[in-house]
C-alpha cells in the first residue's frame, strides 16, 4: 500500500514506538506521587516538556499537554473569548477554512453572543495580514488563523499576521496541527501567543497534543480536577504518550530540511503529472504549501468513487467530496477557496510521507489518470460537458 493520507494521521516512528512501549512497561508511576518511582515519571514528563518547547522556540512552562489538537484549539479559543468578555471585548477574527475543531468552537461562541468575522480566503488558499489588520476592531479579543490548512496544505503568512496582532495588542492563536513537525515553526519569531499541535500528525501517538501559551496570556482549564499542568489541565498525565510525542517531534524537527528536500520535488512531480489530466485544477497555492500536500479537483467525477478505485490499486488517499463526508456537504475548505459544489465533489487529497519513492510517484500519477478517465467514461456530467451542453469550469 502507498499510504498517501498523512494529513489524516501518520505512522508512529520507530523511536516513538520504542519510547512509548518502554515507558508503558517500566514507568507507570503517577508523576504526582512523591516517592521516587512517581518522580521518575515526573522527570520523563518534564523532559518531554523541555523537548517540545525547544522544538517550537518556547519555554517549558509555556507548554500544556492535551489530548490532541482539538482540545488545544478548544482551550485556546474559549480562554481568549472568556478573557475578552471580562474586558467587554467579544469580537473574534478567523477564516472560513479552519478545521472544525476551531469552526465549531467559534459557532458555539456565536450562540453565546460573540461576533466572529470569517475572513475570505483567496482562491489560492491564502489570507493576508492586511485582511487581518482591516478586520481588527476595538472590541477584538482574538485572532485565530491556522498555520497550514489540512486539506489544501497552504501555509499562511503567520509571522506577518502575528505582527499585526502584536501591534494592535490582540491575542493571536494559530492551529499549527498541520505545520509543526512539517515546516519550521518558531513561536517567538512568528509572534504567536497560542499554538495548537497534535502528536499523531508528526509520527507520534494519537490522543496526545499540546497547547503553547505565551507567558502572560491567561488560559482557563476545560477539564476540572487535579492540579496537573499547573492547574490548567486536570487529569493524570499520559506520560508514555507525551514522551513518545516529544520523541517524534524532536526527530521531525531535526529532519525538517531533508524532509523538505526530499518531498518537494516528488510533490511537484505529482502535481505536474496529475495536472496533465484535462479539466483538472490544483487546489491551493503551488508554492506556499507544505511539502507533503497535493490536492486536485477533477471535473465530471465524484471523489468517493475515485478513492475506492485508488484503494483497489493500493493507494490510500482522501477527498473533500460530499459523498465521503457523512454530512453530504462538500468540503468547506474547497468552497471557501471558491470551488463550486460540482467541482468540489471531484476532489482528491494526497498527503505524502517521507517513505515515498519516485516510483510511487509515477504509479500514483498513472493510477489517478486511469481512474479519472474510467469514471468520466460513464459520467453523465462529463458527457454533457464534452457535448457542450454544459460549460467546463476547470
Amino acid at each position: 500500500m502507498i499510504y498517501a493520507d498523512n494529513a489524516a494521521t501518520t505512522k508512529m516512528s520507530d523511536a516513538a514506538v520504542q519510547t512509548l512501549t518502554d515507558l508503558l512497561k517500566d514507568t507507570y508511576g503517577n508523576p504526582s506521587s512523591l516517592y521516587e518511582f512517581g518522580q521518575k515519571a515526573k522527570e520523563v514528563l518534564e523532559q518531554a516538556r523541555r523537548d517540545v518547547a525547544e522544538a517550537i522556540g518556547a519555554q517549558p512552562n509555556e507548554i500544556i499537554f492535551t489530548s490532541g489538537g482539538s482540545e488545544a484549539d478548544n482551550q485556546a479559543i474559549l480562554s481568549a473569548a472568556k478573557m475578552g468578555a471580562l474586558k467587554g471585548k467579544k469580537h473574534i477574527i478567523s477564516t472560513a477554512f479552519e478545521h472544525h475543531a476551531v469552526l465549531h468552537t467559534l459557532r458555539k461562541l456565536e450562540k453565546e453572543g460573540y461576533e466572529v468575522t470569517y475572513l475570505d480566503v483567496h482562491s489560492n488558499g491564502l489570507v493576508t495580514a492586511s485582511q487581518v489588520a482591516d478586520a481588527i476592531r476595538e472590541d477584538t479579543c482574538l485572532v485565530t488563523i491556522m498555520y497550514a490548512n489540512n486539506e489544501i496544505g497552504t501555509i499562511q503568512p503567520i509571522r506577518e499576521i502575528g505582527e499585526v496582532c502584536k501591534a494592535k495588542n490582540v491575542t493571536f492563536h494559530t492551529d499549527a496541527v498541520q505545520a509543526v513537525g512539517h515546516i519550521p515553526v518558531n513561536v517567538v519569531d512568528d509572534n504567536i501567543d497560542m499554538l495548537s499541535a497534535s502528536g499523531h500528525k508528526f509520527h507520534g501517538p494519537k490522543g496526545v497534543g499540546f497547547l503553547y501559551v505565551k507567558k502572560g496570556i491567561k488560559v482557563f482549564n476545560l477539564i476540572e480536577g487535579g492540579a496537573q499542568e499547573r492547574n490548567r489541565r486536570a487529569g493524570t498525565e499520559n506520560v508514555p504518550g507525551i514522551a513518545a510525542m516529544a520523541t517524534a517531534l524532536k526527530e521531525s524537527v531535526a529532519n525538517l530540511d531533508s524532509y523538505k528536500a526530499k518531498l518537494t520535488p516528488i510533490r511537484d512531480k505529482i502535481i505536474k503529472g496529475i495536472g496533465e489530466i484535462p479539466h483538472s485544477a490544483l487546489n491551493g497555492d503551488a508554492v506556499s504549501r507544505v511539502p507533503s500536500n497535493i490536492n486536485y479537483c477533477f471535473e465530471g467525477i465524484e471523489g468517493e468513487s475515485l478513492l475506492l478505485l485508488l484503494d483497489d490499486k493500493g493507494i490510500a488517499a482522501s477527498s473533500g467530496s460530499a459523498c465521503t463526508s457523512g454530512s453530504l456537504d462538500p468540503s468547506h475548505v474547497l468552497l471557501a477557496i471558491g470551488r463550486i459544489h460540482d467541482v468540489a465533489h471531484g476532489s482528491l487529497r494526497l498527503s505524502l510521507g517521507e517513505d515515498i519513492t519516485d516510483e510511487d510517484a509515477d504509479y500514483i500519477i498513472k493510477s489517478v489518470r486511469e481512474v479519472v478517465e474510467y469514471l468520466r467514461g460513464f459520467s453523465p456530467v462529463w458527457r454533457d460537458l464534452v457535448a457542450g451542453k454544459k460549460e467546463f469550469i476547470l
Binding site: L308, L328, F378, V381, W382
Partner: protein, 126 residues
C-alpha cells in the same frame, strides 16, 4: 470492517449495463440535491418488456452499485414490474447499504421512474 458489502463492491468495481443506449425509448436523469450526484437511465422497451437498460452515474460507490443493481433487477422484466422497483429492494439486493448511503439507492429508483415516465409520454405522443 469494510465500508460496503462485498456485493456493493462487486457492482461498483464491475458495474453491469454501464453506458449509453443509442436506441433508447425512455431516458431519465435525476440528481440528488443534497450530495449533488447525478444518475441517468436509458431504457429500451418493446412489447411492454424492458428489453435493454443502461446507466451512467456521476456519484459515489454506493450510487454506482445501486444503479448497476437496479438495471439488473429490471432487465427483461415487464414494465409493470419495473415500475414497482423500490430503493429498498435495490439496497437489499446489495446486502444492505450504510444508513447515510440509503439515498443513493433512492436515486436509482427515481432514475428508473423518470425513464419510465419519459417512455410513457413518448408513447402518448405517438
Amino acid at each position: 470492517m469494510a465500508l460496503y458489502s462485498e456485493k456493493v463492491m462487486d457492482h461498483f468495481r464491475n458495474p453491469r449495463n454501464v453506458g449509453v443506449l443509442e436506441d433508447a425509448n425512455g431516458i431519465g436523469e435525476v440528481g440528488n440535491a443534497k450530495c449533488g450526484d447525478i444518475m441517468k437511465m436509458y431504457l429500451k422497451i418493446e412489447d411492454d418488456i424492458v428489453k435493454d437498460v443502461k446507466f451512467e452515474t456521476f456519484g459515489c460507490g454506493s450510487a454506482i452499485a445501486s444503479s448497476s443493481m437496479a438495471t439488473e433487477l429490471i432487465k427483461g422484466k415487464p414494465v409493470s414490474e419495473a415500475r414497482q422497483l423500490t430503493n429498498k429492494a435495490v439496497a437489499e439486493a446489495l446486502d444492505g447499504l450504510p444508513d447515510y448511503k440509503m439515498h443513493c439507492s433512492v436515486l436509482a429508483q427515481e432514475a428508473i421512474e423518470s425513464a419510465l415516465k419519459d417512455y410513457e409520454s413518448r408513447q402518448e405522443k405517438k
